[in-house]
């Protein structure tokens, strides 16, 4: 009971002392405010990035790798063609599927450089030739109608599955199923509309270097139909490129587990290089690795932020020490009076420690609010995902109290060790 009353009294003395010098106390708090705000914002950004990364891995599947057509131009192109390579092809996809038992699925894609037209409406859209494996690997689901099937591919049927925003832009309020859209010179029947899926678009916001399309603007047709109807692949307008090279732009390859990614990459690279007559006209990418890479970048960012936060807290702590020393000197006589009335060294020490800790804790509180503001601003300005965890708030509060205790210690001890009589006579 007595100890509680005593603690309450120390806090009340501390609040009183701070209230007497409002501006000075606020200025003293600034370092702590910035430091804590930086800690909170840093952890919020870090946590947001971590969440985005996790979602991204989830969206793509952690056990996939990409085989992507590399840019081949000029002499290299002529050389590759002379050697007999045609770049990535459907035959490559079939080979990978057949040759490696650990390859569970292969989804080749070919992008078509054509517009999609219906009733003279030409919305922004990307036409992609795929096979059903693509739907499976990217976890696409139909909102209406159906997805592309193996028989669509086998028969090179002129059918299309639309992304939700393309469907809306083309058909407005008409039901799209069963209607025909014009792609290039051919008519394609709409057999399905995809369910909207935010994952891929969101993941791209995370700043990770995997090229993703906006699924909502995609138009999918069987890859066989794409290769047959559109001999010119996307970007073939570039005279440096051969429209017949790299008919398949990219393949998503799913393997039987993340531990197989690295051996699979080596095996696929070797096998494809042999098929391409030793020409490295493709690259094999492991998304997980890229995510790891981005995580490392994130770690460096965190380290820099932690350094800034620590420096700010250090400067804030020194500020507190400075102001507390000034306060102790200013209140020398008060210390003498308190000692004469029965305050022990411990009481005096406690009084100044509590005051320093209160300043620093109040700074911490304002800093937490500042951290909220910063992470919200980062989210709004840069589009980065941020998330403030309870742990970071506890950490910030703990750190700010600790700074008060550590940097308040020396001034408090100085106050406690004053000779009471000298203090009483201090003018």
């Amino acid at each position: 009971m007595i100890r509680t009353a005593y603690a309450a009294q120390l806090v009340s003395i501390g609040v009183h002392g701070i209230a007497l010098h409002k501006l000075r106390s606020l200025l003293t708090m600034l370092g702590i405010i910035f430091g804590v705000a930086a800690v909170i914002a840093m952890l919020a950004i870090g946590e947001g990035a971590r969440q985005a990364t996790l979602r991204q891995i989830e969206a793509y599947g952690a056990d996939t790798l990409y085989v992507r057509a590399a840019k081949v131009i000029g002499d290299q192109l002529r050389d590759a063609k002379r050697a007999g390579s045609a770049g990535l092809s459907l035959a490559d996809a079939a080979h990978l599927r057949a040759a490696f038992p650990f390859v569970l699925d292969v989804a080749p894609q070919a992008t078509v450089d054509e517009k999609v037209v219906y009733a003279s409406r030409e919305p922004k859209a990307t036409v992609v030739g795929i096979d059903p494996a693509y739907h499976r690997l990217t976890k696409q689901l139909p909102d209406a109608g159906r997805l592309l099937t193996q028989s669509d591919v086998d028969g090179a049927r002129r059918v299309a599955v639309l992304g939700p925003s393309v469907a809306r832009a083309l058909f407005l309020h008409e039901p799209p199923l069963g209607r025909a859209v014009r792609i290039g010179a051919d008519q394609f029947e709409v057999v399905g509309v995809l369910a909207g899926r935010a994952g891929a678009a969101k993941a791209a916001e995370g700043g990770v270097q995997i090229r993703t399309r906006e699924v909502a603007r995609d138009v999918y047709i069987p890859i066989t139909a794409a290769l047959e109807a559109f001999p010119r692949i996307r970007d073939a307008a570039d005279s440096e490129k051969d429209p017949t090279y790299h008919r398949v732009r990219e393949m998503i390859v799913r393997v039987g587990g993340t531990e197989l990614l690295e051996p699979a990459r080596r095996a696929l690279t070797k096998s494809l290089a042999r098929r391409h007559r030793g020409r490295q006209d493709f690259e094999v990418i492991v998304p997980l690795e890229i995510l790891e890479q981005s995580r490392k970048t994130q770690d460096i960012f965190n380290l820099v932020m932690a350094l800034i936060a620590s420096l700010s807290l250090l400067v804030g702590g020194i500020g507190i020490m400075n102001i507390m020393l000034a306060s102790v000197t200013e209140r020398t006589r008060e210390i003498g009076i308190r000692r004469s009335l029965g305050a022990s060294q411990q009481d005096i020490m406690g009084q100044f420690l509590v005051e320093a800790t209160l300043i620093s804790a109040a700074g911490g509180l304002l800093g937490i609010l500042g951290g909220f503001a910063i992470s919200q601003s980062v989210h709004l300005a840069l589009g980065w995902e941020t998330r403030i965890t309870p742990l970071s708030i506890v950490l910030a509060a703990g750190v700010s109290c600790a700074v008060g205790l550590i940097f308040g210690f020396f001034p408090a001890r100085h106050a406690a060790r004053m000779d009471p009589i000298t203090a009483l006579r201090y003018e």
Binding site: I2, R3, A5, Y6, A8, Q9, S12, H16, L20, R333, E334, G336, I337, R338, R339, S340, L341, G342, A343, S344, Q345, Q346, D347, P420, I421, L424
Partner: protein
């Protein structure tokens, strides 16, 4: 009831290390003050009278010699116990009042009770009664800067009495007051002494010293003479001191009533 002397000092030496060598402020002082005595310590500036007072009040530690308060030796006590002793058994009154300018009168008077562990409500209630007793009962929430010297010294006396001390130590309590106000303070001291409070007062004013029952003259850190006052001045008791008397009979002495 303990009949040990209120204060007993033997062979007190207090020396300070200075640039020019060692300064002996006290050079072997022995002094016994019985409970209920009112003693004046007189002497010129630098004679060591204040140092003696602070040593007896456990605010300063003697270089050598022993001190007993109410029969209890204090030289072995650590800072904490010594502070507790100062808090419960001793009340200090200073020449310059030494009130905290940024605290209210109630908080000033309640300050010793903080270190005795009293709750805020108890402190305020008791401070109100003490201030009432010294005639400032309506000014609990005023600040020291709003007071005259006499009023400030009365608040300081109320504060010194906060925990019901056995000994009041006063260092030139009338030094900053005019003679009329000084006499008022002496009247208060006289009443307190009559209640049984032991008072040791440092003064250089012979007129003030005549209010006490005994005068100890100090010179160069040693006692020059120690004589009783033949006919001490007894100011007539005022309304205030009667209230004080009534109040303190509730408190008892030698520690707070809790």
């Amino acid at each position: 009831m303990n009949r040990a002397p209120a204060v007993r000092a033997q062979g007190l030496v207090r020396s300070f290390e200075q640039a020019g060598g060692t300064l002996r402020a006290l050079a072997g002082v022995s002094l016994t003050v019985e409970a209920g005595e009112f003693v004046s310590i007189m002497g010129p500036s630098g004679s060591g009278k204040s140092t003696l007072l602070y040593c007896l009040g456990c605010l300063d530690r003697p270089t050598a010699g022993t001190i007993e308060l109410g029969g209890e030796p204090v030289e072995e006590l650590d800072d904490r116990s010594l502070s507790a002793l100062r808090n419960r058994r001793i009340g200090f009154v200073f020449q310059s009042f030494n009130l905290l300018p940024t605290s209210t009168l109630a908080d000033n008077v309640g300050l010793p009770m903080v270190y005795a562990g009293l709750s805020r409500a108890r402190r305020r209630e008791r401070a109100a009664r003490l201030l009432e007793a010294v005639g400032l009962g309506k000014r609990l929430d005023d600040y020291p800067t709003q007071l005259s010297g006499g009023q400030a010294q009365r608040v300081a006396i109320a504060r010194a009495l906060a925990n019901g001390p056995a000994v009041l130590l006063a260092d030139e309590p009338t030094g900053n007051l005019d003679s009329h106000t000084g006499r008022e303070v002496m009247r208060l001291f006289g009443e307190l002494n009559r209640l049984g409070l032991t008072i040791l007062m440092v003064t250089h004013d012979p007129q003030i010293a005549r209010h006490s029952g005994r005068i100890v003259r100090v010179m160069d850190g040693a006692i020059l003479e120690d004589v009783p006052v033949p006919d001490p001045i007894r100011e007539e008791g005022s309304e205030e001191s009667k209230r004080l008397l009534e109040l303190l009979s509730h408190f008892g002495s030698g520690g707070p009533s809790e």
